[in-house]
């Protein structure tokens, strides 16, 4: 990648970009649309968060200390695991652990395999590759986990009678849960499958656009995007499967009973 092939953005230019939004905020205030406050808060949050992350990344990229990079990766996975649960509307005991364990395992497995087995990055902890790749698979796995968990709990509550009818006629917990597990997996994978279906036709993926803006050859950017999408799909599938199976073990007891009383509404 040629680092000089993109236009540097100065503070003045950042301010000009903010002006785009300020026009909208002014419109909202003038027309009393009540959108101004939300827009201001979210715009400020976004700016502060990104600038902070920028400082941290800059620091990590300069020191290139493996322990620091791994710590950063662990924090990212931890935040993603917690955020995944926050997006669900119900809870069960151990839901946070389930989410953290699956997102950590699947995220590191897939990113590790891609860095060492496919891209052959040296050293393997090079933050230029590890951090953005991990970030992208985690972001998608997070959605898969929250959708899968939500659906699994919903299916168990909705089909309680049917599940118990099956159980009371000799179905094992696996036989009784099979349909709900399939539904939960399918739901968790929908965004990823849909994204792959329309990619390049309706939307140009953000990462690819970014690489092109940074001066990469479009065809090279496309190759990266394809690798990323395979990673994202693999990681989301693994994470959704893992978290749904762990939820299954909580919601169906070892003595073949539906434990729907373990599900509680979010407080």
């Amino acid at each position: 990648m040629d680092n000089t092939s993109y236009i540097f953005i100065s503070n003045v230019q950042l301010g000009l970009a903010a002006l785009l939004l300020i026009v909208n905020i002014a419109l909202s205030v003038a027309l009393r649309l009540g959108l101004g406050r939300d827009l201001i808060v979210s715009a400020i949050r976004m700016t502060v968060q990104l600038v902070l992350v920028g400082f941290i990344l800059e620091w990590i990229f300069q020191t290139r200390e493996p322990l620091l990079i791994i710590l950063m990766a662990l924090i990212m996975a931890g935040l993603a695991g917690i955020a995944a649960v926050h997006r669900t509307s119900r809870r069960f005991p151990g839901i946070y652990w389930n989410s953290l364990v699956t997102i950590g395992t699947s995220g590191f497995l897939v990113t590790g395999a891609a860095i060492t087995g496919i891209l052959n990055v040296t050293p393997w902890y090079d933050p230029q590759y590890m951090i953005p790749l991990l970030g992208m698979v985690l972001g998608n796995a997070l959605t898969g986990i929250s959708l899968g968990l939500d659906r699994m709990m919903e299916e168990c509550l909705k089909n309680r009678n049917w599940i118990e009818t099956m159980l009371s006629h000799g179905a094992s917990r696996w036989e009784a849960a099979h349909e709900q597990i399939r539904e939960a997996l399918r739901t968790g994978m929908i965004p990823t499958v849909n994204a792959m279906m329309i990619m390049g036709i309706v939307s140009l993926p953000g990462m690819m656009t970014g690489q092109i803006l940074a001066g990469a050859d479009p065809m090279d950017a496309v190759r990266y995007q394809i690798v990323i999408m395979f990673m994202v799909a693999a990681c989301t599938a693994l994470a959704t499967l893992g978290v749904v199976l762990l939820a299954y073990r909580v919601l169906f007891s070892a003595d073949h009973r539906l434990m729907d009383n373990r599900i509680s509404e979010k407080k």
Binding site: N161, T165, S168, G170, A171, D255, H256
Partner: protein, 237 residues
């Protein structure tokens, strides 16, 4: 007399039957269930022998449904022991146990698909692998109950409450249980159907030497008709 007894004892099959006649099928020993620390029932004991038809009597809210659910392990007990064939429920692989002791909930449930799909699915469970769907028997049962000819091909979730209840009964009977736990099994049926359903159950229990049932109903006359023993659980509340 002595010789004939010897012959019987030498026959292992007969031995087994004598053993079962002398003992019991399903038994509860001093079982208890608490909800929020308050006992729903406690110190509850009974033995169900082959041929027994036990009426489970008690006012609404006395935990009759909860007891039935506990007897098939869908709900837990907080004390005591449930035994089947002399073995504690904890030692049973529950699907195998539920292959023998079948509970028909009051609000029977079905999958999307035809009535027949909802019946045949249950024959695919591993615990039911020794059973095969007898289509001839199924047809003759629907005819006996004077259900329309295309009844089995109907969409299951379009059935009326009464139709669901009768299909649930047929389904459980075809799965050849040893003990049936019936929770208000005819509450949604009209009068002629009630007597059909009763005949079906009567026929089932008379057909085998090793069958018994527990029945709850708000219709005390039905309990008087269909059962020969009583278990009052209001006393234990």
């Amino acid at each position: 007399m002595a010789i004939s007894l010897l012959i019987i004892l030498n026959n292992t099959y007969a031995q087994e039957n004598i053993y079962r006649l002398l003992t019991f099928m399903l038994a509860a020993k001093n079982i208890r269930r608490l909800i929020d620390g308050v006992p729903i029932w406690s110190g509850l004991s009974f033995k169900l022998k082959p041929g027994d038809r036990l009426a489970l009597r008690g006012p609404s809210g006395s935990g009759k449904t909860l007891l039935m659910r506990s007897l098939v392990g869908l709900d837990e007990i907080d004390g005591g022991e449930i035994l089947y064939d002399g073995r504690s429920l904890d030692d049973w692989h529950l699907p195998d146990y539920r292959r023998r002791v079948r509970y028909i909930p009051q609000d029977a449930s079905f999958i999307t698909g035809t009535v027949k799909d909802s019946i045949s699915l249950f024959f695919r469970f591993k615990a039911n692998r020794d059973l095969q769907l007898d289509e001839y028997l199924l047809d003759s049962l629907t005819a006996q109950l004077q259900l329309p000819a295309n009844f089995l091909e109907k969409t299951a979730d379009r059935l009326s409450g009464g139709e669901k209840q009768i299909v649930a009964l047929i389904r459980s009977l075809m799965l050849q249980p040893e003990v049936l736990l019936l929770d208000e099994p005819t509450s949604n049926l009209d009068e002629s159907m009630v007597s059909n359903a009763e005949q079906l159950i009567e026929h089932w229990i008379r057909q085998g030497s090793n069958r018994s049932l527990i029945w709850t109903s708000h219709d005390t006359r039905q309990l008087d008709r269909m059962t020969n023993r009583n278990l009052h659980i209001s006393n234990y509340g």
